[in-house]
Symmetry: C2
Subunit: 411 residues, 2 copies
């Protein structure tokens, strides 16, 4: 593979230089997800959309000792059959930051595109795995029950399409809700949704004043509990369920139960709509190391600094699932990428026989946790396109190659 | 004075409880400055308006040793001639937080209305004094010159009403710009301005796409360099000048030159408009102790942890001014409150013969620095009205009484 030029950084592109930028350098609510504007925006989302602070609390920061290795020349087979290297992969996939944690130690930590250890980066749908984890914590405390009805937690949804849906269906993306996530289709629900959530200027006739009203107005395409079908709006509903069951705001609950308990170094943040409702499906931003700390808590079977944070049973269930969940996944388009895999508890479990959890977000956000190998890999990116299956495949191939290298070198 | 009930806290009012709030509990961009919604909003402005992070940097936090005293029963003459106490004053003026620093030590530190040491609180126009300080730092470095023309720093303003205005006129609120700051007048410029700045929903016909275009379109009512006339928009112009002279964004410059050098404990933040332009006249939020640290840097003649941060000459000039500045102030309505005082460098200098600097913001924000007494007093509030001259007078009376008590007790 020929040496590729690094993609231009936000600073090299002259984006948002201070003063009054020329239009080609101006990042706005209308263009922030598009290339090259996302190079700047994913590190500055709070400047475009209102955000709630997720307090890191006042406890000690979890140390991440360093035992760095140069894996730049690590070779692996790319999707096109040719051999590539980790360094070439990071360049080719518009990487903003990359971290490998192995047995609690930082093996690789790299920043690109002006990012620093103190920069919160948008997680997109890796947010779902964090939101799901908070639900898991509340389930273990008995505040939520996967078998419980959505309308039991949010009584104002009684008489809507949510009648009969269970929390388990929401966690595993198996309600019957009609919601197209086709980013290429400008008429898809996800485009209306972005306007309601405050992620785009309001240009279409307003479908709802706020995210929760929008959720309440959705319709079904099939019965609840059917096949797996990935729809972000279900995670936003999960956020609403968390707020009503927890009797507090999502950002405060997430801080109390998770973010203030994993030794995060920085506050996290989540975008909120015009009524203060959190965009829990994709609106969380965190720093590189803090996402690694979250992943490490999974590797440590839910413990952080000797304290129980995440239920061990939740972790096991998330990658193992059950026969029904696996069957529900088998017919989905994603089963081609992850044959025998499943989607459970807001995580992808891509391999049937390997304890791996994957959080994955558009434009190249990844949190890859190999529980058996005690490895956590975090990658923040700003791909030019929301969904690029070739780049996504390259990510997973690279992560597997990194884990294999760590194991080969292991004691 | 009879014991007054504490005003209800945001939590007692049930504001923004999580889930879908009833309208009387919903804080939005439309109502956030109005009572009682401001009780919640001034501690959560980033959830309503996009904000840029002002990084605290990675240096050590300036310690604030405690030597607390109970000043609750401190008595002083209120504006109505009756005697009141400090505790009663704090209750009567909707206090969110209050801190007294004397000779580097925390004498009083109190939180109300759910506020904590980690909560950033909106400064309103105390922001001006921070923005002005950054200008002072740049002046000392030769990057700005008070005698320089506005159009020299921002060439795109040539041919507009800003022709002939000098930086000194901007710093001291003495340009000839027409801009009514009458908050009670719904047609005043300040109301249009709030829509352009993103502080209110856009309901009027749009006067400009963004804050800087709005500034460029303003007209004059008189020649530049005339009498003092307090207009917030001049501080926003100052922010623009700072960005062009500093060739970077305001939040980054403020972090580099000030916030990362005073040992702040927390990041600060500033609201930005739809083009990322900072609302430097009123949109900064900081924690209670961090504002005290900023004030302490003035008391320490511009030094923090042994390092020069703010030029000493800037500090002296800010409270002393000169004959011309004093004369320009004499005819202003504010001269009734502060006879013989002046406005200089984005600070009020209320007393002609006392080295006191006052930063003051609507709804009761105050930073009171008595340089001679080595005292810093910070008060965050959420008054029911933007401007209440009686409450403002109570504030200053209380601050003077506190400083007098500290001096009487002093070694």
């Amino acid at each position: 593979m020929a040496r590729q030029a690094q993609p231009q950084t936000a600073a090299e592109l002259g984006l948002m230089p201070g003063g009054r930028p020329t239009p080609d350098r101006l990042v706005t609510l209308a263009n922030w997800q598009d290339p090259p504007f996302n190079r700047w925006a994913f590190q500055h989302l709070r400047e475009l959309v209102p955000t709630a602070r997720i307090d890191r609390g006042t406890g000690p920061v979890t140390r991440l000792p360093r035992e760095t290795r140069d894996l730049d020349d690590l070779r692996f087979a790319a999707a096109d059959g040719k051999t590539t290297t980790l360094a070439a992969l990071l360049t080719a996939t518009y990487t903003d930051a990359f971290l490998v944690l192995h047995r609690k130690r930082v093996v690789v930590e790299k920043y690109f595109n002006d990012m620093t250890p103190a920069t919160p980066h948008l997680l997109q749908s890796v947010s779902k795995s964090i939101t799901g984890t908070l639900a898991g914590i509340m389930i273990a405390r008995g505040e939520l029950d996967p078998a419980g009805l959505v309308t039991g937690y949010v009584p104002e949804l009684a008489g809507t399409s949510w009648d009969g849906a269970r929390l388990r269906n929401v966690l595993d993306m198996r309600t019957g809700t009609r919601f197209s996530e086709d980013y290429a289709d400008l008429k898809a629900e996800v485009r209306q949704y972005e306007q309601v959530a405050g992620w785009r200027p309001q240009t279409d006739p307003q479908t709802a004043d706020d995210l929760y009203s929008y959720i309440a107005g959705l319709e079904n395409k099939e019965p609840h509990g059917g096949p797996f079908d990935y729809r972000s709006i279900l995670t936003d509903l999960l956020g609403w369920i968390i707020e009503t069951a927890g009797q507090a705001r999502f950002a405060d609950l997430l801080s109390r139960d998770l973010w203030a308990r994993i030794g995060a170094r920085h506050d996290a943040e989540v975008t909120v709509d015009g009524h203060g409702h959190p965009v829990t499906d994709g609106g969380i931003s965190v720093t590189l190391r803090d996402l690694a700390r979250f992943g490490q808590c999974y590797v440590a079977r839910g413990r952080s600094s000797g304290r129980r944070v995440i239920p061990a049973s939740w972790i096991d269930d998330s990658w193992r699932g059950d026969d029904e969940t696996r069957a529900a996944f088998a017919g989905a388009p994603q089963a081609e990428r992850f044959p025998g895999g499943l989607y459970r508890n807001q995580w992808w479990a891509p391999f049937p026989s390997r304890a791996v959890l994957l959080g994955s977000g558009i434009y190249g956000q990844s949190l890859y946790i190999d529980l058996a190998a005690e490895a956590v890999i975090v990658k923040f990116s700003t791909w030019p396109e929301a969904l690029d299956l070739t780049l996504a495949e390259q990510h997973v191939r690279a992560f597997r190659a990194v884990v294999a290298a760590l194991r080969d070198a292991g004691a």
